[in-house]
Point group: C3
Chain length 208, copies 3
C-alpha cells in the first residue's frame, strides 16, 4: 500500500519535472534530468544530510527507473498529460503525503530529534520541486504567493509524525487532504507586502 | 562571547534572507525558507563535505529556531529593518567573521589540510548568501563587481586561521574590520573587463 | 597518462567556468569561484553522494590549485582564449571522457551497482557545468536543444564502463570521439515539441 503510493508519487513528481522541461523547450536529456531531479532530489538531499550514503535512490533500482519511464511517457504524451492537470495534481498530493511521512520516519531512525526530523520530512517532500524550478530558472512554486498551499500541509503533517511516529498513516492522509482542499478552495499563504499595506494586520487573508 | 557573536551572525544572515524574500514578493513560506537557507546553508554544505553528518544545524535546536524567529520579526518589521541597513550590515560582518573562523577550525579538526580548511571556512561564511541569491534568481552579491569586498576579507582571515589556529580571535576581528572598511570606502574587486579595456593591464585597480 | 588527461580536463573545465564569469561581468572572486565549481562540482557531488567524504577535491592539492591557475590565466588572457574556442572544446571533451570513466569506476568501488554507478559517472562529468550555468543564471547548456550532444556520449560511455570495468580506456576514447563528432556534425538531441509538431514521430531528427 505504502509502496504503491510511493510509486504513484514518484510518477507524479517525475511527470511534473518532465512537463516543466518540455514547457521550457529543453531537449530529451533535459526532460529525463528534470524528471529524475524532481522525483529523487528531495530524498537524496535528506539522505546526504542524515549521512545515509549512498542514498536509497542510488541503491534501489525502482527509484531510478520510474523517472526514466515517466519521462518517456511524458515525451510522447505530454499534450494529453497537460490536459490531465487535475489527475497529476492529485497524484502529486499523494506523493507529497507519502514522501513527507517516510522522510520524517527515516530521519527519526537516524537519531535526529523531532523538529529537525520534521524539517527533513518536508525537505524530502518539497526539495525536488525546488531544484526543478531552480534548474528551469523559475521562481520556486513553493514560495509563490499565487500558488496554493504546499509546504503548510507538509509541515503540519511532518510535525505530527515527528512527535508521534505511530500517527504515520493519518498524518499522510491529513497532508493529502489538506493539500487537495487548499487546491480546491485556492488557499494561499500570506505575503509580508499584503500585510504591510492592509489596515488590518491580523487577518490571515486580508481582502485588499 | 563567541556564542553571542554566532547568534548575532545567524540573526543578521536570517534577516538578509527574509528581506530578500519580501523584496521578491515570496509568501511567508518563502520568507522562512530563505531566512533558514541564508543562515544555515553554508554550515550545512561544510558539514556534508567534511562528513560531519547530521550537520550541527540539524542537531542543535538554537540554529533551527533563530532563522524562524528572525523571519517572524522581519515579516512584521521589514520596513523598519530596511531602514536599519547599516546595523544589518554590521551584524552581517560579525556573522561573516565568526562563521569563517569556526568553519575553518572545524574543517581542520576533521583532518583537512590548511588550504582546503580555509576554503571550507569561506564556504561556511558565504555559502548561505550564494544559495539565497540562487533561489531568489539574483546574480550572487558575492560575485557582483558593484558589491563591496566580501569574500576577500573572508579568504584573508581563513588562511591566517588555517595556518595558525591560535590566531582565531584576531583573524575574526580582521575579517570584520576589513569588511567594514571595504563597505565604508566602497572597495570593489576588479573585473577582467575593466582590465581588458585599460591600456595598463598590470595595475590591480586601474583608474579608468 | 590518465593523470595528464585529468589535468587537461580540469584546466578546460576551469577555463569554461572562468570565461562564463567574465562574459557575465563577475568580479575576480566570481571568476575563481566559477572556475572551481565547474572543474570540481561534479566530483564533489559524486563523492558526497557515495559517502567518500571529504571529497578528493578537498584532499588532493592539485585539484585545488588547477582552477585557481586557470582562473588567473583566463583573467588576463580571456580574449585569446575566446578565440581558441576549438581548442577549449577539444580539451573539454577530453575532460568529459576522463571524468565520466573515473567517476563510474569510483562509484563501482564504493559498492554501487552498474546503473547508478553509470549515472554518477555522468554526474561527475556534467555536474560542474550545470552548477556553472545555474550560478550564472543561464539555461544549462546540457539541456539546450541548440547545444551539441554532451550527455549522450557520456551516458553511452559510462554504461559501457559500468558493465565491464576493463573497458575503461576504450570507453573514454568513445566518449571523446562521440562528443567531437557531435560537435563537428552539429548533432542535437530531439525535443518533445519538435516531435509533437512533425508528422513522422519516429524520426530522431525530423527535417521540419
Amino acid at each position: 500500500m505504502l509502496l504503491a503510493l510511493e510509486l504513484v508519487g514518484l510518477f507524479a513528481f517525475s511527470v511534473s519535472g518532465a512537463l516543466m522541461a518540455i514547457r521550457k523547450g529543453f531537449d530529451v536529456i533535459g526532460i529525463v534530468l528534470l524528471a529524475g531531479i524532481t522525483a529523487l532530489g528531495g530524498g537524496v538531499a535528506r539522505d546526504v544530510i542524515i549521512g545515509a550514503t549512498p542514498p536509497v535512490a542510488f541503491t534501489d533500482l525502482g527509484y531510478f527507473l520510474m523517472p526514466v519511464a515517466a519521462a518517456v511517457v511524458t515525451f510522447f504524451a505530454h499534450p494529453a498529460l497537460e490536459r490531465l492537470t487535475t489527475a497529476v495534481l492529485v497524484f502529486d498530493a499523494a506523493g507529497l503525503g507519502v514522501f513527507c511521512v517516510t522522510g520524517t520516519l527515516k530521519s527519526l531512525a537516524y537519531g535526529l530529534s523531532p523538529l529537525p526530523a520534521a524539517v527533513l520530512g518536508v525537505v524530502t517532500g518539497v526539495g525536488g520541486g525546488v531544484l526543478r524550478d531552480m534548474i528551469a530558472r523559475e521562481t520556486p512554486a513553493l514560495v509563490r504567493p499565487d500558488a496554493e498551499l504546499y509546504a503548510v500541509p507538509a509541515i503540519a503533517g511532518t510535525i505530527a509524525v515527528a512527535c508521534q511516529p505511530r500517527l504515520a498513516v493519518p498524518a499522510a492522509v491529513v497532508i493529502v487532504a489538506f493539500r487537495l482542499v487548499a487546491l480546491a478552495r485556492r488557499w494561499h499563504a500570506p505575503t509580508a507586502f499584503i500585510l504591510a499595506k492592509c489596515p488590518s494586520r491580523s487577518a490571515p487573508n486580508p481582502p485588499c
